[in-house]
Each structure stands twice: as C-alpha cells, then as structure tokens.
Amino acid sequence: MARVLLNLPRSAAKGAVIEIRTLIMHPMESGFRPGMNGTILARDIITRFTCEYDGEVVFQAELSSAIAANPFISFTTVATASGTLSFTWEGDNDFRQTETRSLTVT
C-alpha cells in the first residue's frame, strides 16, 4: 500500500466549502526517462484520481506524466451531510488504492 496523506477537516458546517489536500507516495515514472542502461523506463503513473462523497463523484482528475512524483492534488467540496468521503487513485500496472474519511456536518 502506498503511503497517503489526507488533509481535510473532520467536521464542517452545512453548506461550507471545505478544502481537501492529498499526497500519495508514487514514482510517477514518466515513460520518457532513460534508465541506467540507457533504455527508456516503462511508464508507471497514476492516471486517475476520484473523490466520492457518499458514493457520488464530486471531483475527478485525469493525470499525465507531467504530474510530479508523489502527486499532490488539492480541491474543494461543499459539506452537504454527515457521511463518508472516499479517495481513489488508479494507474498503470493495476495500481488502485482507496482511502476513506468520515465528515461530520453540523
């Protein structure tokens, strides 16, 4: 499992816009870089990031080789109701990882 850092509030007022900041440990090997022996290293990147709020997609991003290693993605969402936010990173070589956080809306 890749190490993930998620920064978001545990609770928020109903209707508030909350900021979510994510980091995941991943080499984002671009597929354009020569290795030690001079041949190009195979691409190994995260291609998609999805945030679901109680099962509904509220943010999604398609990533390319131009995203830096250990990808950082920050975005916002509206606190609508207490529930679960899930974060999924998918990519080359069947990479798939999901993390969840609960959000209390008052």
């Binding site: 190490r3 993930v4 850092l5 920064n7 900041r21 980091l23 995941i24 440990m25 080499p27 984002m28 830096a68 290693a69 250990n70 950082f72 920050s74």
Partner: protein, 258 residues
C-alpha cells in the same frame, strides 16, 4: 630582527602545540544562513505546509515503523522512546561501544540491531529514511546543538579537513563553493552555504527523500571524485563538522530543496 625570529619559532611550534591538546571545536559560521532563505517563495511555502511537503509522506511512514514491534525481542522503538524531541539536533554524537561518532541513522541502526535484535536496514533504504525523518521531524524548529564532547574533537578536525580537501577530476573542495562562494551562481543555481539543518530532505532533483550522506555523495560525483560507500566514517566526520558549522540554525527536517 629578534622578534621576527621569535615569531618564526612560535609559528614552527604552533602545529605541535595544537596536536598536544584536543583541538578546540571550530567556530560555527558567524550567522549561518539556511538554504531555505535562498529558495523561491513557492518552495518555502511547500516546505512549510505539511499537507504539501512530500517529505511528510516519509515522516508518516516513519511514525508507523516507530510503533511496529521488530526483531527477536518484538519490541517497537516506541516501547523505549516516548518522545525524541531535540535528539536529532544533537547528532552526530559519540558512541561509547564503537568508540566513534555516530549519526542519527547510525544510532537508529544501532538500536535496531542491539535492542530490537533485528536485521539492519539498508542505508538510503526507504525504512531507514522514514524512521530518520520521523525522528528528525521531532526536532523541527529547535536549534542545531552539537554536543560539546572532547572525544569528538579528532573526528571533527578530520571532518573539517575533508570539507577543505580538493578532490576529483575538477579538483574542488566543499569549502571552495559552499564557504568561499556561497551566494554566487554556479550556472543558474545559487550556491547555498550548505548547512545540515534539513536532513533527511525532499530534494526535487531526487524526487524523493534522501540523507545528508546522499547529498555529500552528490557533490563528490559532481566534481568527478570517488565517493565512499554510505555509512562510511568519512561521511560521519563531515556531518560532524557541518553540524558544528551550522550550530544554532533551526532544524527543518524534512526540508524541501531544489
């Protein structure tokens, strides 16, 4: 004329006098300047923001490892160490058993093999970097405070000599760039004073976290010199000198550097 002769005699006796007593630790740079001050506002912000500093991924990994039972005795670091606040700021330090200076990664290794009775971790391997980052992170904001320990004096002197030793096909010493020419530009890159207050650090060139030893190796490769294997005494001696030289600077680990 006589005073001139006297002066010459004193000068000749000088080295012998110095050798007879433990050498006084060299003074720290009068007002050491952290590499952070030479970075763009944006990189400074990245370093300061724990939710954007990629080095924090290693700190988090290190925290998990710190609490994991390991080795034949199945003990975790956390079983003995509640807090390690300020510890990293005092390394490298003298190690009685090996009768040599030891850096922070060396100390973690020592704990691991002696107290946990576990297999040693590879230098520059991810687990040791992560543990080092977690421990060093607990000294963030505290001043580098190398120990006043006379047993370290010979190694400290060797470290300074290595810092001033020209080497490699380009025949350059650390001091010629990072002391004499700090603040000038090598190509487009501003030469920093080269302080040791941010390690392990997330270097954008590496796209990963790395140790001070890796950074030292980086410069040796740069001047086309041979570089000792990670963990070698030469690195620890330079680390010792750098800690003294940057004394007082706030620990920034895990720092972000270009």
């Amino acid at each position: 004329m006589r005073w001139l002769l006297l002066l010459a005699a004193l000068a000749a006796a000088g080295p012998r006098i110095a050798a007879a007593q433990p050498r006084m630790p060299p003074q720290a740079v009068a007002q050491p300047r952290s590499g952070t001050q030479d970075m763009s506002r944006e990189l400074q912000a990245m370093q300061a923001d724990d939710s954007a500093n990629p080095g924090m991924l290693w700190v988090q990994e290190g925290e998990a490892l710190f609490h994991r039972a390991e080795g034949r005795v199945q003990k975790a670091c956390a079983d003995c160490h509640a807090s390690l606040t300020g510890v990293a700021a005092r390394y490298p330090a003298w190690d009685d058993r090996s009768a040599a200076p030891m850096d922070l990664a060396g100390r973690i290794q020592h704990c691991r093999t002696e107290h946990q009775q576990a297999t040693p971790l590879a230098r520059e391997g991810e687990p040791l970097l992560a543990l080092s980052a977690f421990v060093a992170g607990q000294s963030r904001g505290l001043p580098l405070a190398p120990p006043e320990d006379s047993r370290l004096a010979p190694a400290l002197a060797r470290g300074e000599a290595l810092f001033r030793q020209r080497r490699g096909q380009l025949n350059l010493s650390c001091a010629q760039c990072h002391e004499d020419r700090a603040g000038l530009r090598l190509g487009s890159a501003l030469i920093p004073e080269g302080h040791a207050n941010g390690y392990p650090q997330y270097r954008l060139e590496w796209q990963a976290l790395g140790s001070l030893q890796r950074r030292l190796r980086n410069c040796m490769v740069g001047v086309r010199a041979t570089a000792p294997a990670f963990g070698a005494a030469e690195y620890v001696e330079i680390e010792l000198y750098l800690a003294r030289r940057g004394a007082g600077l706030a620990v920034e680990a895990p720092a972000v550097r270009p």
